[in-house]
């Protein structure tokens, strides 16, 4: 463990570097850290901190820069969470007061809100309605070989899946008439409404091969894990990534990551699963994010874990501010989604 003074020095270096993106020298630390010792003493301590891996030096005659370990110590020792800036608090409040309508739209807007609050990229992974029960199930025929299943879940989510009837084996080979679609729709409604959505929902046979085949396709479509549903990832404020790094190549790589919804979901889930709230650099597990930090927080609906929000920015991120933003938004979002 670091002694009091070294911790203060480290903290000062991190804060200064976050602010200026310039290597921090011992003189600056003396001015800003509140430790009342000479710069020579600070230098000695900084040398030790470098030896222990908290700081590094871009070149001999420059100041120090925090390492990943340095940032980690910093966030682990932040102490009491900061409050949001007043104007930001107002923005969050008015956002959630005005929020209404489609949940997807709201989550998308929330990702943008996170971006606005932090000047980094905001990410929202939507609720996985795994535990929801079905309120309505309906099959609607479009052509003789295409149909859609639409299900409304108890949490208000609407799921839609296309069905290609040519996939349904020989009993559907010739297409299917409206009456059988109707029969299948009624049959599914009768047996699935009230059931928990899952990968294996038993539906009894009707005796009619074509109707049963259609039901089977519909059930299969409905059972597809919603976590794989790419509509459930929302990223906002990506343009801010361009301001966060000066190496254009880094910008490209980070944007490339954010484009891949599946990767983003996995990333957030991994971090949450490891019990982290903040992942710095290699802690994210993704090489292109070596210069990034990620802050995550789960949110709940009616107390049940529902999804994750996060902020992705440079490792030299304003952690107190970003942590506050993520915490507040996660809290307000949970509230908002639970009250409906």
């Amino acid at each position: 463990m670091l002694d009091e003074r070294k911790a203060a020095i480290l903290r000062a270096v991190v804060e200064e570097y976050i602010d200026t993106a310039q290597p921090v020298g011992s003189a600056h630390v003396v001015k800003s850290s509140g430790v009342h010792v000479s710069s020579a003493t600070v230098r000695n301590d900084m040398a030790t901190l470098e030896l222990e891996g908290y700081l590094s030096q871009p070149h001999t005659s420059a100041g120090r820069i925090p390492t990943e370990k340095g940032y980690r110590f910093f966030v682990d020792n932040l102490g009491a969470p900061t409050a949001l800036r007043g104007s930001d608090a107002v923005q969050v409040r008015s956002f959630f007061d005005q929020a209404h309508g489609e949940i997807e739209q709201m989550l998308q807007d929330t990702s943008r809100l996170l971006g606005d609050l932090t000047s980094y990229a905001g990410v929202v992974v939507g609720a996985q309605p795994a535990e929801a029960t079905m309120r309505s199930v309906q099959v609607v025929g479009l052509t003789s070989t295409a149909a859609v299943v639409v299900a409304v879940l108890s949490n208000g989510a609407v799921e839609k899946h296309s069905i290609d009837l040519t996939q349904g084996g020989k009993s559907l080979a010739g297409g299917i008439g409206d009456e059988r679609v109707g029969a299948a729709s009624a049959h599914l409604a009768a047996h699935l409404i009230g059931a928990v959505r899952s990968g294996s929902m038993p539906v009894p046979k009707t005796g009619d091969a074509a109707t049963d085949a259609l039901c089977a396709l519909a059930v299969k479509a409905l059972g597809t894990d919603a976590a794989d549903d790419p509509d459930q990832v929302f990223v906002g404020g990506t343009s801010r990534i361009a301001s966060a790094f000066d190496a254009i190549e880094t910008v490209r790589e980070v944007l490339g990551i954010l484009e891949q919804q599946y990767v983003v979901v996995t990333l957030l889930r991994d971090v949450i699963d490891r019990g982290l709230q903040v992942a710095i650099g290699t802690e994210t597990g993704m090489a292109p994010l070596a210069d990034c930090a990620l802050i995550v927080s789960p949110y709940q609906i009616e107390g049940e874990p529902a999804g994750t929000i996060g902020v992705l920015g440079p490792a030299r991120m304003d952690y107190p501010q970003a942590l506050a933003a993520v915490a507040v938004v996660s809290h307000r979002l949970s509230q908002r989604l639970s009250e409906a």
Copy 2:
């Protein structure tokens, strides 16, 4: 109009500049343009071209760069459309052969495909099902003060709108029971199925105030113009924007535009409405896109105009390649969406 040789010189400058991003000198033009005159002659012509606004000079002793007008002349005189590169043609073919499932997913993937083909950002604006008829309308209650209307349209689109019953005036003030939701659902289905979706769909009164109020809310929700539905905009390959410009500020601005779905829709629509296929620089009507070019193409479903695809890249874009990509993808997409 430009004489033969000046046109050839201009073409050579544009092509070279697109390739290298370096100002092009008279000597290079002689080598690459096929005009068999001396560099001095080319210089004279280039001076004229500059005077007429097709070229500009970053500074006195440098080569020439195409102006917006120069690019415009270039694309207007491209002649026969180029074919896609072989490998790209294969990629398009296999993409559409494998495409299946949800239309939203497919459009999203299409935007990514466009990005891959051109190395710029791909944009797809989804079908506006304004002309579609309703195949199914359903109201599902969630709580005593919230419900959703779900409509399936003849083109396979599923529309979902949340309804907040507290907005429904005093007849709904106390919430509403399941039986009335059911009544409203049946009533709407009876009168709207088969109707063209529009902003004003008449629904007769039932005589029950609460049911009528709910119906009114549902109809209003359904009538909302689908063009405003932000789910209908898909942008892919944004990370490539980072490679397309060297000024990081430009990257930020362009990404900022692409983030605003409403702006993107408007942008594409404006360009299409002006009858353009290519919009260069200020032709886009957006100041931050001064260094960009946009290629658009509408696509059809069953011969009916359905939406727009496009590619946004730097003004020094590989126009032949990008035009070919947009044309082919638009064609194949139309085909694919019509066959279902």
